[in-house]
Each structure stands twice: as C-alpha cells, then as structure tokens.
Symmetry: C2
Subunit: 247 residues, 2 copies
C-alpha cells in the first residue's frame, strides 16, 4: 500500500497558476509550480498510497496527520449533514492537494470517486520542510488561493436559483478544469455520478436529471452516456452560465 522512495521519477506536483505573475502560458492553464528539486525533496518524505473507488480516505474531525497530493483519480471533499444528506464542497483532481486543516483536525471528509493514487506526506515531516523552504510555501499559497477562488465560484453557483443555470455552471467548471489539465475538451467527462452532482450543486437528484433533460431537449448539450457530455449550442450555454435568470 505504501512505498518510500517511489520509483516514479517525479514526486509530488502542485498544479496552479501564479498569484501575481501574469500568465506565462495560456490564461487559466495550470502549470506545475514546483521545481524538480522541490519535487525530489518532497518525494523523500512521501509515500504512495492507493484507494479503491468509494473508499473513505479520512473523516472530518480526525487528527490531520497527513497531507495528500493526488497523482491520479478523483476525490470528493464532503460534509455530512443530518438526515443522511451530504454536501460536496469540491472535487479534487491530479495535482490537487488535500489535508490542510484547522487546529490539527480535518474539516472535511474525503472519499475516492474513482480509483485513486496519491502521495501521502506526514505532517510531522512536511511542516519543518515547509518552514525551511520559502519557495515551496509560496507555491502552497498559490495553490490555496486557487482553491479559495474555486470555492467562491462554487458559492456563486450555489446562489443561482435556476436548476439549468446551476447545471450549466457545473459543466463549465468541469470543462475548465479539464482544459487546465491540458486534456481534450471536445467532450466533458464527468467522473462522478448524478448523486454527487446533485450534492455539489445543491439540488435534488430528480432536479439534476430534469435539468440534463431540459438542456438536451433545448439542443444546448448532448449526453452521449452518463459520463460524457458535449456542448452543442455554445452561445446558449454561455448565456445560461452568465445569467442568473434563464431567458
């Protein structure tokens, strides 16, 4: 399950954009922030762990002993409300990190949405490393700013009143993240199920289903299968994404 000094020649990776430097690539394109040397040093204290789809990696409230950095796969950060309902705070992809917390306790639970491979960095080893390396810390700051922005955009989505508008914004997020990872964007790939989507956009499962149907009926998207969506009418799509109101 774990191996020190992984044979992988790279080591932990943080994909993000710089807080201040005007884009050195395409706008919105996320680049590897860490230098090879930083990655190699982090690899020294990291082990590689794997999780099966559906596995809970940690739960909110547990002591935060490790920080994780995703190599492959997708996880969801969620909080359980009463009555069995969950709220998904975000989906995390390769190059993302999770496990930074509050007063030594995790604030979200994390579950693997797909099979996941990740670096695990013990806080006890990471913390002194961080305090020695201002460059590394700067990159962590960039990554946190990005996550903060993403969380705020999520809030923007959640404040929408129209189901279609929420769903379109969600698809837009997924498309942008896909583009930021330099993956092809002719189709949007959705690694999570409809139930996860409903918990992320804050609507009931039937409402998500109906919103997909409505967008399809209006010729705005095409759903090849549950996980593959294509935007057919880009103009109407962007209009719905931009407007709180559905004209």
């Amino acid at each position: 399950m774990a191996a020190r000094h992984p044979s992988n020649p790279h080591g932990p990776a943080l994909r993000a954009v710089d807080v201040w430097s005007p884009a050195n690539g395409l706008p919105g394109k996320m680049n590897q922030m860490l230098t090879d040397e930083e990655r190699a040093r982090l690899a020294m204290i990291a082990s590689i762990v794997r999780f099966k789809k559906g596995a809970v990696i940690y739960r909110e409230g547990e002591p935060s002993d490790n920080v994780f950095n995703i190599i492959s796969g997708v996880v969801k950060a969620y909080r359980s409300a009463r009555y069995g309902r969950e709220h998904i705070a975000g989906f995390l992809f390769p190059g993302d990190m999770f496990g930074l917390s509050e007063e030594g306790k995790y604030t979200n639970s994390i579950k693997a949405v797909t099979p996941v491979t990740a670096y695990r960095l013990p806080v006890s080893l990471l913390r002194p490393r961080l305090s020695q390396d201002a460059g590394l810390e700067y990159h962590v700051i960039c990554k946190l700013c990005q996550e903060l922005r993403q969380a705020q955009r999520h809030g923007f989505l959640l404040a929408r009143r129209q189901a279609r508008s929420k769903l379109v914004m969600f698809l837009q997020f997924m498309e942008q993240l896909q583009a930021a990872r330099s993956e092809p964007t002719s189709e949007i790939y959705l690694p999570m199920d409809r139930s996860d989507i409903s918990e992320y956009v804050g609507m009931s499962l039937p409402a998500v289903s109906r919103a997909f149907l409505s967008l399809t009926t209006d010729g705005i998207i095409r759903v090849r299968d549950r996980r593959h969506v294509k935007i057919v009418d880009r103009q109407a799509f962007e209009r719905l994404a931009a407007n709180p109101k559905n004209p």
Copy 2:
C-alpha cells in the same frame, strides 16, 4: 489618505488559527499570528488608507497592485451577475486580508460595508518580503486555509433549502466571528444591511425579511433593531443550524 510609518505602534495583523497546532487558546479563538517584528517589518512597506461606507475599494478584473489588511470596519467581497444582481462571496473583518488574486488580477470586487481603515501593501514590495520570510508565509498559509474553510462553510449554507435554516447558519457565522474577535456575544451585531444578507445567503430580500419574522414569531431570536439580534432559544437555534430540514 496615506501615511508611511504610521504612528500606530502595531502594524499589519493577521488573525487566524494555526493549521496544525492544537489550539493554544480556546478552540475557534483567532489569535494574532504575526510576531511584533514581522508586523513592524510589514509596517515599513504599508500605508494606511481610509474608505467611506459604500466605497468600492477595487473591482474584479483590475490589476492586483495592492494587498489590504483591515484595521477597522467591514468590507464585502462580491461578484456582479447580469441583471443587476450581485453575489456576496464573503464579509471581511479586522485582521482579515484581501487582494490576493489570480494571475495578477483581482477576482472579486470589494466594497466598504462600514467606514474602513486598512493597511495597503504594494505587491511589488510585499512579494520579495514574502519570499525571504518563511515564517510570514506560513502565517499567510494559515490565513488562507481559514478563508478556504469559511468559503466552504458558506457553500454549505448556500446548499440549504430552507430559508430559516440559511438565516440561522448566517447568524451562527456572525456570532462565531464575533467570538473569534473576542467581542461580547450576548447579542449578534450585523454591520451589513438586509440586502447584503440576502445576497450572501442566496435568497430574495423579501425571503430574508420573512425568515427573520418567522424566527422571531417562533421565539427563537429577538431583533432589537436591524443590526442587533439576540438568540432566545439556543436549542432550537442550534437544531435549525444543524438540520437541513426544519422539524
């Protein structure tokens, strides 16, 4: 409007909790993270600026030339949607910072909710300072983690379906922030108007008004005046805050 080497003996302050250290005060209590020396060094590159209530401090999309640190007053971070509607991403209080951005551009607009005094730190001077000082960066990381958590809790609120439940969560946030600033909590003080609240919780203005009324009628809160709310029935209050559903 600006003064170098302010007579204020302190300098910029970051209130937050440590990411990893188990609370060294009361849980949730935010402490000054920066050392006197750090604050003094930051004061060297800071100027003090004042804004009138309602003043726009910057707009989304502008070049992010400055980072701000609030001394007194309250600001709101917001994004404008079409049709004149705004969404408020968060309220910021003394000890909070704003202006960290993406690729050199601000991602939110900022407006003063009350008269505001703040330190202004030019990015051109702050950036080299940051890269020299790992301790300062660590504190910025702690502050960003706190903001990220707050944004996620905001998302949690926005995902609620019951107006009363949203409003109760909002009041809970304000109460907790008040407590974290070590202010008395016998009453919750609301510096923003009803319209700001409606834009933060993602409901219409009449819905906010009716939710206040409903909570008052049920004896859960008492509204002394627009800005002062007292929680009368703590148990019912916490129940509403915890449950998506209003029993």
